[in-house]
Symmetry: C2
Subunit: 229 residues, 2 copies
Amino acid sequence: MSGMWTVKVVGLGVVALSLSVELLGWLLHRLRPKRARTEVLFFPSEMACLEHIFAPSSPQSCCCPLPHGVETSFSRLVRCILSASSSLDVCVFAFSNMDLCQAVLTLRSRGVTIRVLCDKDYSAIHGSQIGVLRRAGICARCDVGSVYMHHKFAVVDNRLLITGSLNWTMTAVQSNKENVIITEDPDLVRPFLKEFQSLWLHSDPAQYLHLSDPKPADKPTTPSTDKPC
Amino acid sequence: MSGMWTVKVVGLGVVALSLSVELLGWLLHRLRPKRARTEVLFFPSEMACLEHIFAPSSPQSCCCPLPHGVETSFSRLVRCILSASSSLDVCVFAFSNMDLCQAVLTLRSRGVTIRVLCDKDYSAIHGSQIGVLRRAGICARCDVGSVYMHHKFAVVDNRLLITGSLNWTMTAVQSNKENVIITEDPDLVRPFLKEFQSLWLHSDPAQYLHLSDPKPADKPTTPSTDKPC
């Protein structure tokens, strides 16, 4: 009887041990925080055709002289922007890069909610894409309360931050030494979302347009859709 | 005898259980990766006296009209730079802020190894602190291979990254909308360290000085220590 009892106790011990090991593994897997997706891009970027990114269903129909199907820092950046499925908030000093403008327009055609905030001085210079965005019905505002609105960041779907030294211009992408951080780390995304929301509210034209109503002769001749919202 | 045996087995089980719980706690503590220190600063910063940061042992001896003992975005940035104990690598487009220059000079006096890399055009303009740093014996190089060396980052002790949209100028700190990320996340620090090392080697004046030796009449009249290294 004592022998049978010992066997039972030992058996129970073995079962308990194996269950404990399994529980330990499960706990470690659950409790270990997942590393946030993080990527760093450096520029200048090699130039390559982006058609396979903008139109992945019709590959190799482009005849441009650029290399095709090549992954570069810039193509990674465009992919990240195009990954937006619900919202894109852009807050950049300078926005004159036509490929990045095309990416934003593509998102607009997919029904993504887009807000663009830029520096008041840069938005008016030759080559700025702010007018193009506004004419496409995209909500674009200009910061009016600082010497420069010098940020260069965007937030995709309220969860993916794109930030760094890179303005959204052709020179920055092709010629300058620049960096871009792409991260889902909530400790980084959260403050930038808050900053965007604050700047967006402070740049509401309803707050300042009545203070500087242009005379009729000064009114812009661009279509009525080319206006802040 | 059987009763005593049961007490012993139950006792051993209790001891084993308590040891297992302790082991589990220890394992979870050891295996859970620590969250990297991360901080985001936004500018413009309120202005406040920095004397308590530069000279913490002699508080309130300053009579300047700025608020004293106040923590701001800028004071946080200066504190991070001054936390360097072995090395500081600075890679910024524009460096004209005298407080940041003082921070670098303070580190130099403490024996910290300092390397500064900046844009070739900006380093020569009025107000640039690059000459001040060189005259203090700090190794400062200029990028020569791009339209703009537009980075704005620094790495403290090869472990703490400071990066963002902020140039090291007074306007950026006091007037612009800017951001700075401070992080120890190795996934971010590592690529920036690699980028710095690569740019530093490419900006070695030994590689290009012989290609553009100035004529004797063009040679600068600044002291001989005001030169790249």
